[in-house]
Amino acid sequence: MSHEDDTLGGRTRVEEELAGLAARAPEDFAARVLRRVGVPSDRYDTYLWLEAPAGGLFVAWSPEGVTGAAPGSTLSGPRMFEERHHARTGRTAIPTNRALPGLTSALRTGRTARLPIDWREFTPVERAILDAVRGIPRGQLRPLTWVVREASLPDTDAVRTALALNPAPLLIPCHRVTHDEGGACDLACGPETGARLRTAEGITEEMTWLPRSGLVFLGSDTTRVYCHPTCAHARRITPPHRVPFVSADAARTAGYRPCKSCRPIAA
């Protein structure tokens, strides 16, 4: 090999190869260091990247529960997750290779409502709101006023604020909340990521706009029960028996009762 083709953009080939030797440390090296040194485990969070729609999900937790999560599509990589996590919580996130118990299966099944969340940094109102959002099943949508009612609040302002503060998108499924007049309400991680999360659960863009086409609630003329249109019970109603309603009042006047699963607002 001659010396002429031995240089690459100012650096020699040997130097290029050497720079390529700088791999990342084993995933759990930092966590093992902290354990060995004896830093108490409540002084830092550990985190992991898990397979999920929208570029996977970074999830961090303390001994109390999940402290933060972010879809991979909203970040440039693990370093950015660590920095954002610190900016938001003031806590250092250390990589690990062992997931919080229950986390992997919660993501696989979509049943995230029972996953422990570290609520220490949140007000009781914020917690009530985000807990209500956790009650929206996978593949379904609920309007803001539904969250207001579930969290026993006077109006939607606090809900908007709390949704924007959502520490753990996907685990606290704020992508399943819509505006009352239709359209997704992606306040935490943006419409693009929100759309990807919804698509992965079989929620189409069209479904978020149903209220605009006059379909706020859907009733069945055989059972005389009305639901949110994405409720599992509403989806089972066969086309000839579908009765759309523009409001709960209209449904009640027609002699229908609210579904006990999706709890439409009876106002």
Partner: protein, 194 residues
């Protein structure tokens, strides 16, 4: 990076345990990569890396707030790592480990390739790693700090505790030696294949 370094120093000064977790987050990779490339073994790098941070923590406990605020954390940590490594090399020479446990000697925990594998896929990268291991210790450390970790010559000089000029000489001597190895190996490989 400077903002990160300043924040790290502040956290170290304010609360040792909190600052130390940040120190580990920011520098664990540098320490591990340095030790892996000078020792040639990921397993040893793991052990010596733990030892490095343990020493760092003990030292920080004795430092005043002012001293923690002035710490150049990366150079300081890698100085400790380099010392831990040199001590390890010295004691390994004086007290060679005799493997009496047959299970341990058969079941090689080290993840380096065996001699067969090494011959079969002797890529440039593997040859480079092997050649790196044959460099004298100080030269090897200088090459790894400068070209693998990407430190400035001033930082490397701080770690090696010698003038910048000396470090530059060490690094360029090291690079020249590595280039020589790669060229002769490639040349001989070429001769064999044709």
């Amino acid at each position: 990076m400077d903002a990160t370094a300043a924040r790290l120093r502040e956290r170290l000064a304010k609360d040792l345990d909190d600052g130390f977790t940040e120190l580990v987050r920011v520098h664990a990779t540098d320490v591990h990569v340095f030790l892996q490339r000078v020792t040639g073994s990921a397993v040893e790098a793991d052990d010596l890396g733990q030892e490095t941070f343990l020493r760092a923590y003990t030292a920080l406990q004795g430092y005043s707030t002012q001293r923690r605020l002035e710490l150049r954390t990366r150079a300081w940590l890698l100085t400790i790592a380099a010392n831990v490594w040199r001590n390890h090399v010295r004691s390994a020479v004086r007290h060679p480990v005799v493997l009496t446990d047959p299970e341990r000697s058969c079941d090689h925990a080290d993840d380096g390739p065996g001699p067969h594998e090494r011959a079969a896929n002797a890529s440039d990268r593997d040859m480079l790693v092997a050649a790196l291991g044959r460099l004298p210790e100080r030269t090897r450390a200088a090459v790894v700090l400068r070209h693998v970790i990407g430190m400035s010559y001033a930082e490397v000089a701080e770690v090696q505790n010698c003038p910048v000029g000396t470090v530059k000489a060490q690094a360029s001597r090291g690079i020249a030696a590595l280039r020589g190895v790669l060229e002769t190996d490639n040349a001989s490989a070429g001769e064999v294949s044709t």
